[in-house]
Subunit: 228 residues, 4 copies
DNA sequence: GATGAATGAGAGTTCATTCAT
DNA sequence: AATGAATGAACTCTCATTCAT
């Protein structure tokens, strides 16, 4: 094994340990000590590669995010397919992904976005994101930026569904109720909730695709036997 | 003010401060010091009444939970009303409640249930709840019990919807897709997500009832213009 | 010993330990661990009372500074005495003080003012002090303020000499060479150097007053046997 | 460029970077990482040539010290000149040198001699130097030696003034007050203080020679208008 | 009964030095 | 010969909990 390979190996071992530890402890409860013990390396090495605990987490989820986006785009971009088919495709990818990264994405959604501290991200005029506090003051700018980058990941992950959804509106595929802006976002998040709160014994048996089909069917055609 | 009143006053002041601090910091970032400063009392007093930081949080959410349950039951129990009407009623209460307690219930759902550490609660044969770990070991029994009590709160809050939903199944109000067990739970959680991730500028304007009506309509009759 | 006394006792023990440790290690090399071990207390106690290592040091020297200023003013303010007598008085106090606090005041002069990192303090138009960097950038504002407070201590300590000196100029006590502004400051600092670099065996034997007299004589009447 | 030249080039680049970094950070705050980044070389190279951070600093100041000594000796050794002229000459060199190396020599005087940790150097019977601790124990012998070498540099730098001064005593150039041994040292150090604490706006304008002349005049003939 | 001073384990981070390549 | 990845001891600081008054 040459130098380059060894270096990659170290980085990789840290990355693997990082995933394991954050997945079993969340962010705040995870300790750098546990990570380096698992990676069998020194603290200095970790900090040389990743700079800070927050950067370490960001690097991990950022990488996973990129893989997710590639998969999502491959199913979302196929204009041959109809609205329903595309929705099912995107949700299948999303469910699959969340099942593999349940804890990490919970941590990302609630802990890292500081949604659980009363901050939310709102769009600015020029299409960017800005942090907003439900009460009191915002943190220092540098910390705001650290928080916002997680919001940006999520925003990008929601976009494929939003786009298909808007195509559906243009096609008059949807009824007038559908005009509310948050519906696309809501499908995305409702699925996340489904996976976050699944209990091991019932949900796992259903394949991601089957689940996605059902969810889309319910959203599109409803649960009711009767006509509205 | 007599002794009893004075004691109540102290407890109340701590409770109010507790809500304020956990609501703006989440659980991990909240400090007991900030709470007692706001309550203008001593640390010993707080620990005398509430025992631990975790018990303090539990007491707070437990109290709010009880208020929520009373409201939910008052709209869920009315057998005169139809399925749709009852669903709208429950969700209206739920949305209203979450809007007032957004951060607290996020913390409850993800931080306190340790859902963000890979634990989930599964039903036991005798109708109770048991903790299960996605990986590795469970924490000591005492800590498990502390975690489980939060799961019990959530389970109880979901029940009214589940009951209405099961009534719908008995009435043949729903189509066969609806047979999946998690659907009731999913409506409940999807609404939570909607409120957790609202951004201040758009959602607030819609009344809780209007929002509930739309959500139920979509669930029941679907988004699609066309027949399935 | 009652509660108040005990509290004072703890604070005092920390203060004493602080002086001992900073006096034998300087600032950077001193560790909080050594201080608490010597004070026989916990880390939390130290941080509760003093907030940070820097604040701890500042509290210590600030206290000593106040004692020094009282003594200086008592000898500098006596308008009955002549210029020479007053100079001798101030320098006696200064030498005495420095002998007792040699290391602390070295640390103050060089380490804490960051003079040893190329920063100096210059007077602003409104009589305050501003930090200036010989090269490159200044540190963040908050850190600048921490540095400046040490400069302010020193500036105040120099002032009594400056005042006597200016009185001398008004009285035409000095010759025209004396017009340079920095001369008062220089006497003050030269004495500091004398004490900082004394070697135990020779200087200590001379009393502070005797030393002060000699220094003043040399400054006033010169070393030379001959007339200029 | 051949091998020898390349090696020299590397050494030189490290030396230049060393000066830059220690000059803007002092010793404790300087990092080897910053030095090698500036020198555009590897850490191993630096440690190969210089052995340790302390040795690196010593090599730097030692080199500058040698240049200083050559200049000092060239003005101190000229027996043609009178006492006053020689003093002015030495101080001119010394002021010039300090202005160019203000931070480095501050670090040398206070940080490296561990004067700021309560150690001082005293002469031994055989003319050497020995470390002495104001309180407590001395460090291990090896570290003592590292500290002493900085004292030796300073002692050597003071010597030219001492020699001129002793010539003055032999010539009966000085009055009886001047017999105190530390006076030569004090002139030397007072000048250092003057440069260390100059503030950019006033002192720089005066040439080193002008300043030296004034200092010597004051020392020799005094500040007072009146005869003693 | 109410208090808050005292605690100390444990957190994230830095950096001089080594040594295999 | 030159490198820079790897190290880990040591640093400052936090905070839930206790218990003497």
């Amino acid at each position: 094994m040459n130098k380059k390979e060894k270096e990659l190996d170290k980085r990789n071992r840290i990355m693997v340990a990082t995933e394991a530890v954050f997945s079993r402890r969340g962010y705040a409860q995870a300790t750098v000590d546990e990570i380096i013990a698992l990676a069998d390396t020194g603290k200095g090495t970790l900090y040389k590669y990743f700079g800070s605990k927050d950067d370490l987490f960001y690097t991990l989820v950022s990488q996973k995010h990129n893989e997710l986006m590639i998969q999502m785009q491959s199913v979302a971009g196929d204009v041959q397919k109809g609205i329903e088919e595309r929705l099912v495709g995107i949700l299948t990818v999303w469910i699959d992904f969340l099942r593999k990264n349940t804890v990490l994405w919970q941590v990302l959604c609630f802990e890292m976005t500081c949604s659980n501290r009363g901050y939310s991200a709102v769009e600015t005029e020029n299409g960017g994101l800005r942090l907003e506090a439900r009460w009191g003051d915002l943190p220092p700018l540098e910390e705001q930026e650290n928080i916002l980058r997680y919001h940006r990941l999520l925003e990008e992950e929601i976009r494929p569904i939003t786009e298909v959804y808007q195509a559906g509106i243009r096609n008059r595929f949807f009824n007038e109720i559908a005009s509310h802006d948050d519906i696309a976002k809501n499908i995305f998040l409702a699925v996340a909730m489904l996976v976050f709160f699944h209990t091991t014994n019932n949900l796992e048996k259903v394949s991601a695709e089957e689940l996605a089909k059902n969810i889309v069917k319910i959203r599109l055609y409803g649960l009711s036997e009767k006509e509205q």
